[in-house]
């Protein structure tokens, strides 16, 4: 059958990796917050949408190209995350999963409905950077490639930062024993603010790219967050880099299932994969050992 032609398989692989990279960008931020403060942030996808709407506003009102808007959206979302942590999230750190789940759920419906009040439930998108590069017989989507490159650069950058930088190590220390970290002179609250800011900025970056890939409304977040959950489980909760692998794996798996089975089943991939992996390895593929 024509589906088995090498060119097509390669095309599937490329497209799947590109789709997966965007998932990964979103999931890595989610996992970072979980790893450092055991908070499952249900509002993470709404932070992404905040980035997307900000980009949209800059584009529609000031004519700023999304790739430029990036430099404004990233700091803005970082700041928003930074203070969100300070004002509310900080107060549920260490209080157990339920409290944080509920709090961030509250935040997410506040964000969604504020979005609805401002933007109504229209779908927005930005028609920039459209089309694809054709390399050989393979089409490489321009916006998705930009998103993937960005995703991988950001994720690896943050990973490197956590692994080697003084601040990054401090964040890992806070993740493990906040009290002891505090008595090493680490301002734990500030580190968490920084972490949340970082995660929000990653979500915002995903939002910027989303504007050129998909149409979004304030309620679009739900489509993404469920998949992100699946991804961080697949990659290992709290395992920062695991989410990158998880995202890429999901992207590729989805497209192959969509190609060889059907698109409807592609949606099930995330959850079937999730359940299968949990049944084999109850703590995810990479386990939570390597926190953050």
């Amino acid at each position: 059958m024509h589906l088995l032609e090498p060119v097509l398989l390669l095309q599937f692989l490329v497209s799947g990796l590109l789709a997966g990279a965007l998932y990964a960008l979103l999931a890595c931020g989610l996992n970072l917050v979980f790893g450092v403060m055991r908070v499952i942030n249900l509002a993470h996808a709404e932070l992404m949408l905040a980035g997307a709407f900000l980009t949209y506003v800059l584009y529609a009102w000031a004519g700023i190209h999304p790739l430029l808007a990036f430099f404004l959206v990233l700091p803005a979302l970082f700041g928003a995350g930074f203070y969100l942590q300070r004002l509310v999230v900080e107060r549920v750190v260490g209080k157990g999963e339920l409290q944080s789940l509920l709090l961030t759920y509250g935040l997410s419906i506040i964000l969604i409905n504020t979005g609805l009040l401002i933007f109504a439930s229209d779908f927005k998108a930005i028609p920039e950077l459209q089309g694809a590069l054709i390399v050989g017989d393979i089409a490489i989507s321009k916006p998705r490639t930009a998103a993937a490159l960005l995703a991988i650069a950001l994720t690896l950058g943050v990973y490197h930062f956590l692994k080697h930088a003084r601040l990054g190590k401090a964040i890992r220390a806070v993740a493990e024993h906040p009290d002891v970290a505090m008595l090493c002179g680490i301002d734990v609250v500030r580190m968490r603010m920084f972490t949340f800011g970082l995660a929000a900025a990653m979500a915002g970056a995903a939002g910027v790219m989303l504007t050129m890939i998909y149409s979004f409304s304030p309620e679009t977040g739900a489509d993404f967050i469920l998949k992100c959950f699946a991804i961080i489980i697949i990659g290992g909760m709290g395992n920062f880099i695991g989410a990158l692998y998880g995202g890429l794996l999901l992207g590729v798996a989805e497209i192959f299932v969509a190609g060889f089975v059907s698109s409807q089943w592609a949606e099930a991939v995330a959850y079937v994969l999730l359940i299968l992996i949990l049944l084999i390895r109850p703590t995810g593929l990479k386990g939570a050992a390597d926190v953050t």
Partner: protein, 370 residues
Amino acid sequence: PAQTKEIVVGTSVALTGKYARTGQEQLNGFQLWVEDVNRRGGLLGRKVRLAYYDDESKPDTGAKLYEKLITGDKVDLLIGPYSSGVTLAASTVAEKHRFPIISAGASSSKIWARGYKNVFGLYTPATTYMDQILALAKEKGLKRVALIHADTAFPRDVARGVEASAKRLGLELVFKEEYGKASTDFAAMILKIKALKPDVVVGGSYLPDSTAFMRQAREYQLYAKIFAFAVGPGLPDFGPNLGAIAEGVMGNSQWEPTLNLPGVKTFAKQYEQRYGHVPGYHAAGGYGAGQVLEAAVKMTRSFDRDKLRRALLKLDTTTAFGRYKVDATGMQLGKPGYTVQWIGGSRHVILPPSVAARKTTYPFKPWDKR
């Protein structure tokens, strides 16, 4: 003047939840009708008031609200909610109370397949959405049709219609696939379709999926002579969201402000003055539903439910929304759908020819020639 008690028209509106946007427009339409009818002296000389609640776009809330409207508020007349799902639930309540209801925003044929006696449709049924476009394809000598659709009630209805019409017209359905609501990536589907070299690509879709599909169609150079989608291209956001990619894409509409029909212009002008934007078909549907009620009351000269039911079944009238004429089950048959196309950055009615504002652009311009 003897009767001063006002007439209450009840409805539920999607003010929050997934249909919030359309719900608001529909409500505007209702309210405009209430103002108009009162200016004209009300219904049988009595002033009309609208009683409405937010159904949160949810079937169970909708059902509860119709119970409230009928038993709590004791309304005199009922208009249906937006969306097929909420209507399916709400109409059962109306049926239970034997209370006729004008469905103002539902097009799934399921609603009328249940043998209910009290639901009357206004929208063109979803199954006929693509008929004009498929007829056009036939006319142009095209053969191969690829069909994609989302997996909820309405798109499935559209798809069933496409299948039936394609068969009737002798077109070959070379591809058919359903996709889930959270699909953001259509690459696999597009690559499969591309290999089949279809002449026509039809989608039973909403806005985000149809825009994502077209974007990726461009990326993977999927070409067909006709691209047509339900809902998406009919909405104002389709063009701005896609830019040049939207050019030439066809879609359906229940109604357009540029339609060449009596009453349309006045309504559109009045609406724009009142709300500051050009009305979409949801607004016109709201207004039209009111007008149908008005016509039925005029015909029977009473608010008696049994009489109204009979009247609604018999009635043949033209509102600002188009013609109203139902079959024995209450399903709308009188109103044709309209086909629109994005030409030069805006949306134009191209079919049927009697009401068309622009000529069809055909075929779809190849990607490398744009």
